[in-house]
């Protein structure tokens, strides 16, 4: 079934689109893609459908990788120019009521739990501002009693004067809660589905609110209805078959772009990395496959922002900036209080690229790009 035969207009619920597909069928189809399908998808560069995207991430497209990389590079230059958006995460809390089998913050992990107070947050802000950042991503685990909407709202109002662009990556919230946080100054909300494999989702998320697959799946809909400026999507690469998960992410994006057309979207590539006490990836993804995926996204959609974090190695990131990536973090700490450096909380995952923001900026410049620290304004 082609996505374009679905009636997008009739629904503001991705579940209804999602139900037209089965995981097994998608996983089979992507492996059966023929070279002619890949050729057709390449010809539609920049304006593909999710079906074209499927062709681009298929094993059949692997032999076209260099061509895909060139295409992705040129499409990105044309749309985004020779610039790279800089952002940095700030972990507010590692308290978490969920069990996620792959995550360092998992409830059953016996680690010190910390939620930053106002004073601690301002100390973090001070360090982050010295790095030069103006776009910040606030991150937390899911502990709604202590780290809920009231807490976020208060902290966003505290942080807002120091940054032009405030992004949020926390537990899924209700539409009204999002509206409050947007009013307080949130520009972007990131919410990763982790996996679109509904049955296995339950295995990875056995306990806590996060075990509700549907509530998470429908989060971007609630964000669209709340009128957020930007939504970030992604699947945790390595948990399940990355090809099937990425296809569903593309389907999700295509639906969202047509439904909430005033919202901007970004895609992230969280590739599973080792964390203390956690499982290793079930379906490890190679560097070559990650390059294929990044290029496939760009060739599928020339407007979507593509983001790469410090989960990836220096060597990979040095090359990835020319492959279609448009925003990048640097100098990240994934433990609450990690920048001011006195709290010793456990980190969510190990950072692979430990270079400082200055070093990353210099690397970006040496590749012929300008690092952009500010590309938003509090006026919006």
């Amino acid at each position: 079934m082609s996505i374009h035969t679905l009636d997008y207009v009739a629904t503001k619920d991705f579940r209804k689109v999602f139900d037209h597909y089965s995981w097994e069928e998608v996983a089979e189809r992507v492996n059966a893609i023929k070279e002619s399908d890949v050729e057709a998808a390449l010809l539609k560069a920049g304006n593909g459908t999710p079906e074209d995207f499927m062709a681009l991430i298929s094993p059949a497209a692997e032999k076209r990788l260099e061509e895909m990389a060139q295409l992705s590079h040129h499409l990105t230059l044309k749309r985004f120019g020779n610039v790279m958006q800089m952002y940095i995460p700030m972990y507010l809390s590692n308290e978490c009521q969920n069990i996620c089998t792959y995550c360092g913050f998992s409830f059953d992990n016996k680690i010190a739990r910390i939620t930053l107070n106002e004073e601690q947050i301002l100390r973090e802000v001070e360090v982050i501002k010295k790095f030069g950042y103006d776009h910040i991503l606030l991150v937390s685990g899911e502990a709604s009693q202590t780290v809920g909407t009231d807490y976020f709202e208060k902290m966003i109002r505290l942080i807002r004067p120091y940054f032009s662009n405030v992004m949020l990556e926390v537990q899924p919230l209700h539409q009204e809660e999002y509206e409050r946080l947007i009013h307080a100054g949130v520009n972007t909300v990131l919410v990763y589905q982790e996996t679109y494999h509904e049955e296995n989702y339950q295995l990875y998320h056995p306990k806590g609110r996060k075990s509700n697959f549907n509530y998470r799946l429908e989060t971007p809909d609630r964000l669209g209805k709340a009128g957020v400026h930007r939504v970030g999507l992604g699947a945790l690469l390595g948990l399940e078959d990355w090809r099937a998960d990425s296809f569903f992410t593309a389907l999700h994006l295509d639906y969202l772009e047509k439904t909430y057309w005033k919202t901007k979207y970004s895609i992230s590539f969280p590739r599973l990395r080792p964390a203390v006490g956690c499982q290793q990836p079930n379906h490890p993804m190679t560097d070559k496959q990650l390059v294929q995926l990044i290029c496939a996204w760009r060739i599928f959609n020339e407007n979507v922002e593509l983001s790469l974090s410090t989960r990836e190695s220096p060597a990979f990131r040095n090359h990835a900036i020319k492959l279609g990536i448009t925003s990048i973090s640097a100098g990240s700490k994934t433990d609450p209080g990690g920048y001011a450096g006195k709290l010793h909380a456990l980190e969510q995952f190990e950072i692979s690229d430990e270079r400082s923001p200055n070093e990353i900026a210099a690397m970006i410049e040496s590749e012929g790009y300008e690092p952009v620290w500010k590309d938003w304004d509090r006026a919006f």
Binding site: K78, N82, K262, K264, N303, Y369, V372, D377, A379
Partner: protein, 256 residues
């Protein structure tokens, strides 16, 4: 060649430059110089008043050119007006390129919000140059509320596709009493030349220069394209006709 006059100010160059997408400030500065431009637009969202020494806006302010802050990022009139006011303060100019695009993908301008914002901004003392679709009626409505120019698009922004809206642009140029500056989609000096030949007052170019392998050289090529087009226009370019001259004139009998 005649000067370009916008809101009583004279410009010798009819090429406006955008400042996004350049690989560094140095590359941008070289392109600005090579283009001979006297007016550049800068996104207010890129301006950081707190980082004085390295800020793009502050850097451009020191060049001997008219700065044209733009409201890129604004989704409605209210946001655009607020951004314009902050920009006026930060960049110390009342010139404004009004851009309102609620759609973040194609960055297509919202005509309803743009008209509302333009009316308000003119009252607030801004020199307003609105970015719009190639809509001749909207151009007249904007002229009515007092904009200093109109900036219709030639093709989707960043597409480098040239004057795809040519038929509508011709009507706009014919009917407009304010300068018509063709913005967006101009991908080659030949597109710029064609726009000026048609009678456009000026063109605004960004992607085609910023993303070229040699931006300064491309900027110079655009300078000449614009000059050639304007010179041709002022030289009364011979129009083309769909019909060959008839060997037996249809009105010759009148003289008989």
């Amino acid at each position: 060649m005649k000067d370009l006059i916008i809101a009583g100010h004279q410009f010798q160059s009819r090429l406006l430059l955008g400042t996004g997408k350049f690989s560094s400030k140095k590359v941008m500065a070289d392109a600005i110089e090579a283009s001979g431009t006297q007016m550049v637009t800068v996104a207010l969202k890129r301006v950081d008043v707190e980082k004085r020494e390295e800020d793009l806006g502050n850097y451009l302010k020191q060049l001997p050119i008219q700065l044209l802050p733009n409201t890129s990022g604004a989704r409605n009139a209210k946001e655009a007006i607020l951004a314009a006011q902050l920009g006026r303060e930060a960049l110390e100019t009342n010139w404004l390129k009004l851009e309102i695009h609620p759609d973040p993908r194609y960055l297509l301008p919202d005509p309803i919000e743009t008209l509302a914002a333009a009316e308000e901004l003119v009252k607030l003392g801004f020199i307003v140059l609105p970015y719009i679709n190639a809509d001749a009626v909207l151009c007249k409505r904007l002229e009515d509320v007092g904009t200093a120019a109109v900036m219709p698009l030639g093709a989707p922004i960043g597409s480098n596709k040239g004057l795809q809206t040519k038929d509508m642009l011709e009507i706009i140029i014919r009917e407009s009493k304010v300068p018509v500056i063709i913005d967006a989609g101009i991908g080659a000096p030949s597109h710029a030349a064609a726009a000026l030949e048609m009678g456009a007052a000026a063109v605004l170019v960004n992607t085609a220069i910023a993303v070229a392998k040699y931006p300064a050289q491309m900027a110079a090529a655009f300078k000449w394209g614009v000059e050639a087009g304007r010179m041709a226009f002022e030289s009364k370019l011979g129009g083309s006709t769909a019909f060959a001259a008839a060997s037996s004139p249809l009105t010759a009998f009148l003289d008989e």
